[in-house]
C-alpha cells in the first residue's frame, strides 16, 4: 500500500521556538485523517509543510511518495484549503473557477460548476460579499475540482455556523467517496473528526501524542475504575494515558494491546472524545482539575 504521509523527525522552527518537533508519522493512503490538538500545537505547521507551503527546518517528509515542494507535478497531486479559506475579495466566484482552470492541469470544470450550483453560489457574486460558509464551499470546490489525490484542509470549518459546517463536511465526504480522495484535515471539534475520520493524529505542544487508526485506538484504550492503587504497579504493555484518584477510587485511562483480565478493575470502553481529551491533558498531572473531563 502506498503511503499518504511519511515523516521522520520532522520539525519546524521559527527563530527560537519550535512549532513542530520530532514528528514521525506513517499514514497509509486512502484515509481520512483527522489532526486534532489545541491552538498553537503545530497542526497548521504540519499541514502547511505537507502542502508544500512551508519548508521544514529538520527531518524529512514524503507526501504520496514525493517531496512536498518539489514542483508543479507534486502541487497538482495535493489540494490545499488554507485556514480561513482565503479568496480574492474583488474577484467573482466565476473568476475563481477560471483561476482554478488556468492554474491546474487536471481541472474538472464540469464538477466545479455543478458543485457551485448545488451549494447555491451565484457565479457573478464577488467573494468579498460571501459568508464564511459560502467561502468555505468555494474553497472546497477549488480544492476538489483540482482533482488531487490528497486534499489537505486546515481548520476549514472553524469559523462557520453548524449548518454550514455540516454542509461542508457532506460535500467533503461526497468528494472523498466519488474521487477516492485521501483527506488530511485539522479541527478542534472532536465530534467532526469522530464523524468523518478513520485515522487520528493528536498533536500537543508541537509533539505527536498519539496517532493511529480510529478503530484500533478505540479498541486498545480502556477506562478502568477500581479501588485506589498506584498506577506504577500495572503490568507491562499497559500505558497510562491519564489517572485520577479520589480517596478510595482510582480511574485510569490506558492503552493496552491485550485484553485486561485483572478482576479488581471495572473495564469500560472509551469514546473518541474522551480519548482525545485524555491525550490533550498533561500525562503526569494526576489529580489536577484538568482531568475532571474523565469522570
Amino acid at each position: 500500500m502506498t503511503t499518504l504521509l511519511r515523516t521522520r523527525e520532522l520539525g519546524k522552527r521559527y527563530r527560537r521556538r519550535w512549532a513542530l518537533r520530532d514528528c514521525t508519522l506513517d499514514i497509509p493512503a486512502g484515509r481520512i485523517v483527522g489532526l486534532v490538538g489545541p491552538n498553537g500545537a503545530g497542526k497548521s505547521t504540519l499541514l502547511n509543510i505537507a502542502a508544500g507551503q512551508l519548508a521544514p527546518s529538520a527531518g524529512s517528509i514524503e507526501v504520496l511518495g514525493g517531496h512536498p515542494a518539489s514542483g508543479p507535478a507534486q502541487l497538482a497531486k495535493v489540494g490545499f484549503v488554507a485556514q480561513d479559506t482565503p479568496a480574492y475579495a474583488a474577484l467573482t466566484v466565476a473568476d475563481h473557477l477560471r483561476l482554478g482552470a488556468r492554474l491546474n492541469p487536471r481541472w474538472d470544470a464540469a464538477a466545479a460548476r455543478n458543485r457551485i450550483e448545488r451549494v447555491g453560489l451565484d457565479p457573478a457574486q464577488r467573494t468579498g460579499t460571501l459568508s464564511g460558509g459560502q467561502r468555505a464551499q468555494l474553497a472546497l470546490t477549488l480544492g476538489v475540482a483540482k482533482r488531487p489525490e490528497l486534499l489537505i484542509l486546515d481548520e476549514p470549518v472553524a469559523a462557520v455556523d453548524p449548518l454550514a459546517r455540516r454542509e461542508f463536511l457532506q460535500g467533503l465526504m461526497e468528494a472523498a467517496a466519488e474521487y477516492e480522495l485521501s483527506v488530511l484535515l485539522s479541527s478542534h471539534l472532536v465530534t467532526d473528526v469522530e464523524r468523518v475520520c478513520d485515522y487520528l493524529v493528536v498533536l500537543v505542544d508541537s509533539h505527536v501524542r498519539v496517532a493511529g487508526d480510529v478503530d484500533e485506538l478505540l479498541s486498545s484504550h480502556h477506562r478502568l475504575t477500581g479501588p485506589r492503587r498506584d498506577p506504577g504497579t500495572l503490568p507491562a504493555g499497559q500505558h497510562v494515558v491519564s489517572v485520577s484518584h479520589t480517596e478510595r477510587q482510582t480511574t485510569l485511562l490506558l492503552r493496552a494491546e491485550s485484553p485486561i483480565h485483572d478482576p479488581a478493575w471495572t473495564v469500560s470502553r472509551v469514546g473518541l472524545e474522551d480519548l482525545v481529551l485524555a491525550y490533550l491533558s498533561p500525562p503526569t498531572a494526576a489529580g489536577r482539575p484538568a482531568l475532571e473531563v474523565l469522570r
Partner: protein, 130 residues
C-alpha cells in the same frame, strides 16, 4: 429506498448503526428483496460521514448474505428477514406484556424495569459468547 440517520450520542459506532438500520428495515418489511440501497456517495453526502464507514457496513451486510453489490449498477437486497421471525413476534410480545405487568405489580418503576432488562440482556449475551 432506505434513508439512513446517525445518532452521535448513542455510543454505537456509526458503521454498526447503519448495519442495524438495514436489518431493522428488513425485519419490518420496509426493504424487500431486489430493493436498491443508496450508493456510498449518497450516504456520505447525506450524513457527512467517512465513506469507509459505509463500505464497512455494506461489507458486513454482504457477508451476512443480506445484500449483494452488482458492479457498476449498485447494491441490492438479496434476502428478507421478515417472514420467519415475524410469526414469532406476536407470541413473544404477549409474554413480554405479561412479564411487564408482573414487574409493575412487584413495585418496579420504568427505570428499574429498563435497568433489569438491560443487565439481564447483557449478561445473557455474554454467557452466549462464553
Amino acid at each position: 429506498m432506505i434513508e439512513f440517520h446517525l445518532d452521535a450520542r448513542s455510543g454505537v459506532s456509526p458503521y454498526l448503526q447503519l448495519v442495524r438500520q438495514v436489518r431493522q428495515a428488513l425485519r419490518l418489511g420496509l426493504l424487500r428483496e431486489g430493493d436498491q440501497l443508496p450508493t456510498v456517495k449518497d450516504v456520505v453526502a447525506r450524513l457527512a460521514i467517512n465513506p469507509n464507514t459505509v463500505l464497512k457496513a455494506y461489507r458486513e451486510l454482504e457477508h451476512e448474505g443480506l445484500i449483494a453489490a452488482r458492479p457498476g449498477v449498485g447494491t441490492f437486497v438479496t434476502r428478507t428477514l421478515s417472514d420467519a421471525s415475524l410469526a414469532a413476534h406476536g407470541h413473544l410480545r404477549h409474554e413480554l406484556r405479561r412479564w411487564l405487568s408482573r414487574a409493575r405489580q412487584a413495585g418496579l418503576d420504568d427505570e428499574s424495569i429498563e435497568a433489569l432488562f438491560m443487565t439481564t440482556f447483557r449478561a445473557a449475551a455474554e454467557e452466549d459468547i462464553a
